[in-house]
């Protein structure tokens, strides 16, 4: 069975918007593939090349070099499109059509007709929470509602692969939770999902694997535990102090900080941690919390010195 998405050494260059003779490399030598039924989170700064990569996967633009296969075929192939659902970033649809009309339009393009189309449209409108607004013109939809109708149109033909560019943007916390639930339910249905997001906690919670891209270059691709290596564990001690011992507590070590009336000290390594913990206990300060903490995905992504490419 072919992989839902496979990129091999894909690069894309654009003309510089201001200097026509200059070129901007939006994506450089990008390779990755995803498995059937998995959720891949796509992470990177603004302008990192996420949307460019997604547009190439969708066949809207073409790579300068490299190869892209979607379900084993070229992107843009009509048969491939029948199996893909796509939600663009900040979706905008025909202002004069109603939500129901939009789903009818897109459903018919996918070959769905009659009662099947009606049933599926209504079911999806309920699933994304805008059923009551189905007969309102899209010009009256809020940003969040457009995001929801965008999600409904992406799923109208029951695609096997769903590609979403910033699906959570513009949504309130409840909306975000609902979209996350939809993404999880798609996985339960055996579908493959790739989505980009700036909200790294969402990526961390939802994704089987995470693709991190920076300046068009793949930085990491793997599970969250693979991306956050154990050797990057940080040790931290939190302790309390009676009022009369507070001044002495600050004198214990350099770099002590106070957060919510708790004294916190970061340690360089395990030896440093043990030394400092012993000293704190010896002086009679009550220890509130002590141990190793893994860095968050956010810290990994936004640590600029970590630029090695992990294949």
């Amino acid at each position: 069975m072919s992989k839902p998405i496979e990129l091999k050494n894909v690069s894309k260059t654009f003309r510089h918007p201001m200097k026509v003779w200059d070129k901007v490399e939006a994506v450089k030598d990008l390779s990755f593939s995803m498995e059937n039924g998995e959720i891949v989170g796509f992470v990177g700064h603004n302008g990192a090349g996420k949307t460019t990569a997604i547009k190439m996967i969708m066949g809207f633009i073409w790579p300068n070099s490299g190869e892209i296969k979607v379900n084993g075929k070229d992107p843009g192939d009509q048969e491939v499109k029948k199996t893909i659902g796509f939600l663009p970033e900040r979706p905008y649809f025909y202002a004069q059509l109603t939500g129901m009309e939009l789903l009818n339009y897109f459903g018919r393009l996918c070959g769905i007709k009659g009662s099947l189309l009606k049933d599926r449209s209504e079911k999806l409108l309920r699933r994304v929470g805008i059923f009551d607004d189905r007969n309102r013109k899209l010009s009256g939809y809020s940003k969040g509602m457009l995001q929801r109708i965008g999600l409904a149109q992406a799923l109208i033909h029951d695609p096997q692969l769903v590609i979403m560019d910033e699906p959570m943007s513009g949504l309130d916390p409840i909306g975000r939770r609902e979209v996350k639930e939809i993404i999880r339910s798609l996985k339960k249905e055996g579908k493959s999902v790739i989505f980009s997001s700036h909200i790294l906690s969402d990526i961390e919670n939802l994704s089987d694997r995470v693709l991190i891209i920076e300046n068009g270059v793949k930085k990491h691709f793997g599970t969250v535990s693979e991306i956050i290596p154990p050797d990057r564990i940080r040790y931290k001690i939190e302790f309390d102090s009676p009022n009369e011992m507070k001044d002495a507590a600050f004198a214990l070590f350099k770099g002590i900080r106070v957060v919510s009336e708790r004294f916190i000290i970061d340690c360089d390594d395990l030896d440093d941690f043990n030394t400092k913990l012993s000293a704190i206990v010896e002086k009679g300060y009550p220890v509130l919390n002590a141990g190793g903490v893994l860095p968050s995905l956010e810290e990994i992504v936004f640590t600029t010195e970590n630029t090695e490419v992990k294949q």
Partner: protein
């Protein structure tokens, strides 16, 4: 085919609900009104003047609609990015361009029928409703001419931004509307060699004189046998070439 019809239908639906359409429509009614007012102050056959004004209004309104809605057909979708979800569906770019073109054609047909009905009411009011039958060929050639303008507007829409597209489409219209008289005037005032060059150039330039039969009908000059047939062929020739180019350019275009 069904996908193309689907795009055409929803393009029509989207445009027919556009408020701009109604503004233009009221403007057309206003022009009709001015035409009637002029008849009160003119010497001559009132029905002829009504007919002349009516056909001119239908032509003008259709042209304005074709240019200003036509040039935004694809560009608006590109700038608002409504094109991305659409092209993610099993719809080829060729079907998309054809769907957009026919959606606009459908709008123009409805608009021309609607304006013709108003025209008929006016003729009825001035005691000559039967004249409308006589003018059907003229209305048909207005439709043909407008269809070529829509085709050019679609081409411009796939190539460039709306302002430039509008300028290019208006240039096409002006060239088409004036080329016959211009060539005639130049060739009769210049040397034989220059006249040959200008006459050759005439075959490249659009020439809307092939569609201009309304003067013949209004003033009772009658139609030449093959005029309608040739006008149909000429319009089809322009449309096929221009829409083919649109499809070629749009298929090669990166949708950013």
């Amino acid at each position: 085919m069904s996908r193309m019809i689907n795009v055409a239908y929803y393009t029509f639906l989207e445009m027919v609900r556009n408020k701009v359409l109604y503004v233009l429509f009221f403007f057309a009614l206003f022009i009709f009104g001015i035409g009637i007012a002029i008849t009160q102050m003119s010497i001559g056959d009132v029905v002829d003047i009504i007919s002349d004004t009516g056909l001119a209004t239908i032509e003008m309104f259709s042209t304005v609609l074709a240019i200003f809605l036509g040039i935004s057909l694809v560009q608006k979708e590109l700038s608002l990015k409504t094109l991305h979800p659409l092209l993610s569906k099993p719809l080829s770019r060729t079907e998309y361009v054809l769907g957009k073109f026919f959606g606009m054609i459908f709008l123009i047909i409805v608009e021309i029928i609607f304006m013709s009905l108003i025209f008929l009411v006016l003729l009825y009011f001035y005691g000559a409703p039967g004249r409308l039958i006589t003018y059907i060929p003229a209305i048909y050639t207005i439709f043909l001419q407008t269809s070529t303008i829509i085709a050019v507007a679609v081409l411009c829409s796939t190539l460039t931004e709306p302002t430039v597209g509008a300028m290019l489409t208006i240039s096409f219209y002006i060239t088409g509307a004036t080329s016959y008289n211009l060539v005639y005037a130049i060739t009769h005032r210049t040397s034989e060699n220059v006249a040959k060059v200008i006459n050759t150039l005439r075959f490249i330039l659009p020439d809307f004189s092939h569609f201009n039969i309304k003067d013949n009908l209004v003033y009772g000059k009658g139609l030449e046998g093959l005029q309608i047939g040739f006008a149909s062929f000429y319009a089809l020739f322009i449309i096929v070439i221009v829409i083919s180019l649109s499809i070629i350019f749009f298929n090669a275009k990166e949708i950013n």
